[in-house]
């Protein structure tokens, strides 16, 4: 590729896409490289989706401030980008009297640091009124009304779509293998191409240390820490609040939490592992999270679980500061190479604040950041069948009949929404890509009914045979061949004879 990008972002998770979108207002040339078949395939796909209020971590950590700032930035971003998000508020739940002191301390520190609305509630009746599913053992809660829930991948798709609308180029299936440098131009070699850029932003999640080492910067490591989840059917349990236990040293504990789409999940646990691809759930882990969740919500609807999954936190060890577990956001000694690494929790919450920081770094590097005249911050809300009134629906189907062909019955998704997901900027190319963009297969039947139809649509729209349609890229195809292939061979031969 001959273009020299002003900024090349490695990693298409929420961090990379948020940086891309934030920079897309400037008259510069930006590209995002993602190794997988789709963006939002890494940690961004498997996490709690909580927009934290920001009270939890220690003040020495940059992530505390970025989280508090990031939380605030969600309001405007949501107005512009129209991703699924609400501020439903969280409870940190004390089950013993002695834990109240901890909550009081967190409240005080939080208020000092500018978190609004933090409130210690000890009136059990009021607590149970606000969250009827909470255990009877509750003695008090710290209520954070600014905490919210978001669909992390839909946020990321919204960011990428808006970035692409404003000129950012996205390249998927491009795994960065080598980086070299000549006359202040980085040459980035991927599995199949070469890209050139003046500045590189390393937002490669679990692999950020590997990318950093490619330019000779070897001062941190990333260790994967697994968190497992169980998701329940929408009809089985409905929570108002995000419920946290009192946190431990390693994590915020096992929460019970509503999702933005009305399901409930329990998780995550925290398990240090070594294999960065090990997103397998384990029997022990699933038991651990159920036991943990029952402490907060005793009657978890275990029979109504529809899916279990796991995500990996990118836990950094920084050998310069000798700190474990804080974000590494550095304008490094390699001029033009910015590390945005070790973005563990609350990275999702902090993404807009992290992007602001990167913006500052680029200014320091002397990149001219002039706002484009035609910059459009609005990413229109995807049209959803479920949001229409009956009359609107009727109109819509008359305008475009694909609104009237229902593909996913659990979530009531018509063909039109799937076509939109494919043809959107940075659109879906895989079955999972469609599932995460517009939810067919997310419901209680988990694709039992819609999968054959989704495969058929992808095959038709992308002009590929059904056998080449994949779940999420290379080696994940659904079908191995036609049933009558062997039979055809025989009859053809017979005819020849």
């Amino acid at each position: 590729m001959t273009t020299i990008f002003d900024v090349l972002i490695i990693g298409g998770g929420v961090t990379g896409c948020c940086i891309a979108r934030t920079l897309s207002k400037y008259a510069i040339n930006i590209a995002v490289l993602e190794k997988d078949a789709d963006i939002a395939s890494g940690t961004t796909k498997g996490n709690s989706g909580v927009v934290h209020a920001g009270y939890a971590s220690s003040r020495e950590y940059v992530r505390r401030n970025l989280c508090i700032r990031g939380n605030k930035l969600y309001t405007q971003a949501n107005e512009e980008l129209n991703f699924p998000f609400i501020r439903n508020g969280s409870f940190v739940v004390a089950l013993e009297d002695k834990q109240i002191k901890y909550l009081e301390g967190e409240r005080k520190r939080g208020i000092e640091d500018g978190i609004s609305g933090l409130e210690l509630i000890l009136d059990k009746e009021k607590i149970r009124y606000m969250e009827p599913n909470l255990t009877d053992d509750v003695v008090g809660v710290l209520h954070a009304p600014t905490a919210g829930i978001v669909s992390p991948y839909e946020l990321t798709f919204a960011l990428a779509e808006n970035a692409a609308m404003n000129g950012v180029s996205f390249f998927r299936n491009e795994k960065v293998k080598r980086i070299s440098r000549q006359n202040y131009v980085f040459k980035v070699k991927t599995s199949s191409n070469e890209f050139k850029a003046h500045n590189i932003i390393n937002a490669a999640g679990l692999y950020a240390a590997k990318i950093s080492k490619m330019v000779g910067l070897d001062y941190f490591d990333i260790m994967p820490r697994k968190g497992e989840y169980i998701l329940f059917d929408r009809n089985a349990l409905h929570l108002n609040k995000i419920l946290f236990p009192i946190p431990t040293k390693v994590s915020k504990g096992i929460l019970v939490c509503p999702t933005i789409h009305g399901n409930t999940f329990v998780g995550p646990n925290a398990q240090n592992i070594t294999d960065k691809k090990d997103i397998a759930t384990t029997e022990a882990g699933l038991k651990e999270i159920l036991d943990g969740g029952r402490m907060l919500v005793p009657n978890l609807p275990t029979r109504a679980s529809i899916r279990n999954f796991a995500g990996l936190r990118a836990v950094p060890y920084n050998s310069i500061s000798d700190k474990i577990g804080d974000f590494i956001i550095d304008n490094t000694d390699v001029y033009g190479f910015i590390n945005v690494a070790g973005i563990l929790s609350p990275g999702l919450t902090s993404c807009f604040a992290i992007a602001e920081k990167v913006e500052e770094f680029l200014k320091l590097l002397g990149l001219e950041l002039k706002i484009k005249e035609d910059y459009n911050p609005i990413r229109p809300k995807p049209q959803r069948f479920k949001d229409f009134s009956k009359a609107e629906l009727d109109e819509k189907i008359k305008e475009d009949p694909t609104w009237g062909r229902i593909i996913c019955r659990c979530e009531t998704i018509p063909e039109k929404e799937i076509l939109d997901a494919i043809h959107a900027p940075v659109g879906a190319r895989t079955v999972d890509g469609i599932k995460f963009r517009c939810r067919p297969g997310m419901g209680r039947c988990q694709g039992g009914f819609c999968r054959p139809r989704v495969i058929e649509i992808l095959s038709r729209e992308l002009y590929i045979p059904p056998e080449e349609v994949t779940k999420r890229g290379e080696y994940t195809s659904f079908l191995v061949g036609k049933t009558k292939d062997r039979f055809m061979e025989i009859t053809e031969r017979e005819e020849l004879e």
Binding site: E283, R307, T483
Partner: protein, 435 residues
């Protein structure tokens, strides 16, 4: 928005929907069938094996052959139907909303509605198997659709979890296609589907059946590479050290079916423990004038019983329209039917007192297999009102009883009755002697 009127609207055109439609049309009431798929017939269309119609036609037919006989009647009777049309909402006032891509949103005012939406398969999440989430995991019915309707193979080598009928039938089907079925793994100590399928689909093809085992881990990050199976004890807890690895590229799940209850639930009908709506002896749900039959009510193993149940639902809907519709006829009270010992669930959930002079048809499944049993019905005072012997019961075969309570010696005075399946008293003695 298009608006229509029809005496009866039937949702679903499977065995249940078609049989009830024919029944209603015979009475000369107007009826409309709504089907979301592109043709009439429902799940039987993908069941190309034989074993259908032994009761209804005394012939052994394939699924498509069986259903074609009903489709032909629907066509002969000129019963109207909408295809590619999905019902998205029904209301207590019996308004039915549906969408399709030709007419847009359609509103139909009905006097009575028959729910015949069939069932869906339980998935991996429902049984919480730990491990990776690669491509290559299908429900058995999904694989059946791919192979029999779309003409595609989902994999080359298979492990099938669950010995339900669909799983066993697919084991044979895939073997015919030249695929390798490594094993059918069943957590129970016995096959959960019909004996006939165990013999004809597994034993005849030397497909290993591994009972008291379950899949405890799925291997493969991208595509399935194998599964670990483990032996379980009586409480279904895994026995540590019993793990075995089986290499395969596909895992099929045949772990149960659940009535399709989204619409039923949204309409405000109450559901019972088996996942279907609560019904009285007329198959009427807790919403007046809304009836249910077929797999949406309870999962059936024989299509013939579905057709028979659907005919009853049709007749009852006719009677409702001709007598109760628009008239306030006071009820004489209801008797609750409770599932007792070794009864998993019972239909109907209620009997109307005024119907005690009619035949009441009970259907239920047992929790575990048993031989030489007594099926009995007791009132609240533990008086046995009815009893009957049966040689054996197994969970995979639905039991049907037809009882006219007015003809029995003991009358039901209480507000509830219990149905239970117990070992025959005399058998107990015999076996004691043998011991």
């Amino acid at each position: 928005m298009k608006s229509y009127k029809s005496d009866v609207v039937i949702i679903g055109s499977g065995a249940a929907g078609l049989a009830s439609a024919i029944e209603i049309k015979k009475e000369d009431l107007s009826v409309l069938i709504i089907e979301r798929d592109k043709e009439l017939g429902g799940i039987t269309l993908q069941c190309i094996h034989n074993g259908f119609g032994l009761k209804e036609f005394q012939e052994e037919l394939t699924g498509p052959e069986y259903i074609q006989r009903f489709i032909n009647q629907v066509l002969d009777l000129k019963i109207p139907y909408l295809l590619d049309t999905m019902v998205i909402e029904i209301t207590k006032d019996k308004l039915v909303y549906a969408v399709n891509n030709e007419e847009g949103l359609i509103e139909i005012q009905a006097k009575a509605i028959i729910l015949a939406m069939g069932c869906r398969e339980r998935t991996r999440g429902a049984i919480n198997i730990p491990g990776f989430r690669p491509a290559g995991i299908y429900t058995a019915g999904q694989a059946q659709r791919f192979v029999n309707i779309e003409g595609y193979l989902p994999g080359n080598s298979y492990v099938i979890l669950g010995s339900g009928d669909i799983g066993m039938i697919m084991a044979r089907r895939l073997t015919w296609e030249g695929c390798e079925v490594k094993a059918v793994v069943e957590i129970l100590p016995y096959v959960s589907g019909l004996l006939r399928n165990q013999v004809q689909c597994l034993e005849d093809y030397d497909i290993p059946l591994i009972t008291s085992y379950t899949v405890t881990k799925i291997h493969g990050k991208d595509r399935v590479q194998g599964v670990t199976i483990s032996k379980v004890d009586r409480n279904f807890d895994r026995i540590i050290g019993s793990e075995k690895f089986i290499e395969c590229d596909t895992l099929l799940l045949s772990v149960g079916l659940i009535p399709e209850n989204e619409l039923t639930l949204n309409a405000g009908a109450d559901l019972s423990k088996n996942g279907g709506p609560i019904v009285d002896n007329n198959l009427e749900t807790t919403i007046e004038g809304v009836f249910a039959c077929g797999n949406v009510l309870q999962v059936h193993d024989l299509v013939d019983l579905v057709s028979a149940e659907a005919q009853r639902a049709g007749k009852n809907a006719i009677e409702y329209i001709n007598t109760r519709y628009g008239n306030d006829i006071p009820s004489q009270g209801k008797i609750k039917c409770i599932a007792g010992d070794n009864v998993n669930y019972i239909k109907p959930d209620f009997i109307n007192r005024e119907d005690l002079s009619k035949d009441v048809i009970f259907t239920f499944r047992v929790n575990f297999p048993d031989r030489r049993v007594q099926i009995q019905i007791k009132d609240e005072e533990n008086n046995v009102i009815y009893k009957r012997k049966k040689v054996y019961v197994i969970p995979s075969e639905m039991v049907e009883l037809k009882i006219n309570f007015d003809k029995l010696e003991n009358k039901i005075e209480s507000d509830s009755i219990v149905i239970e399946v117990i070992p025959r008293p005399e058998v107990l003695i015999e076996e004691d002697e043998v011991l």
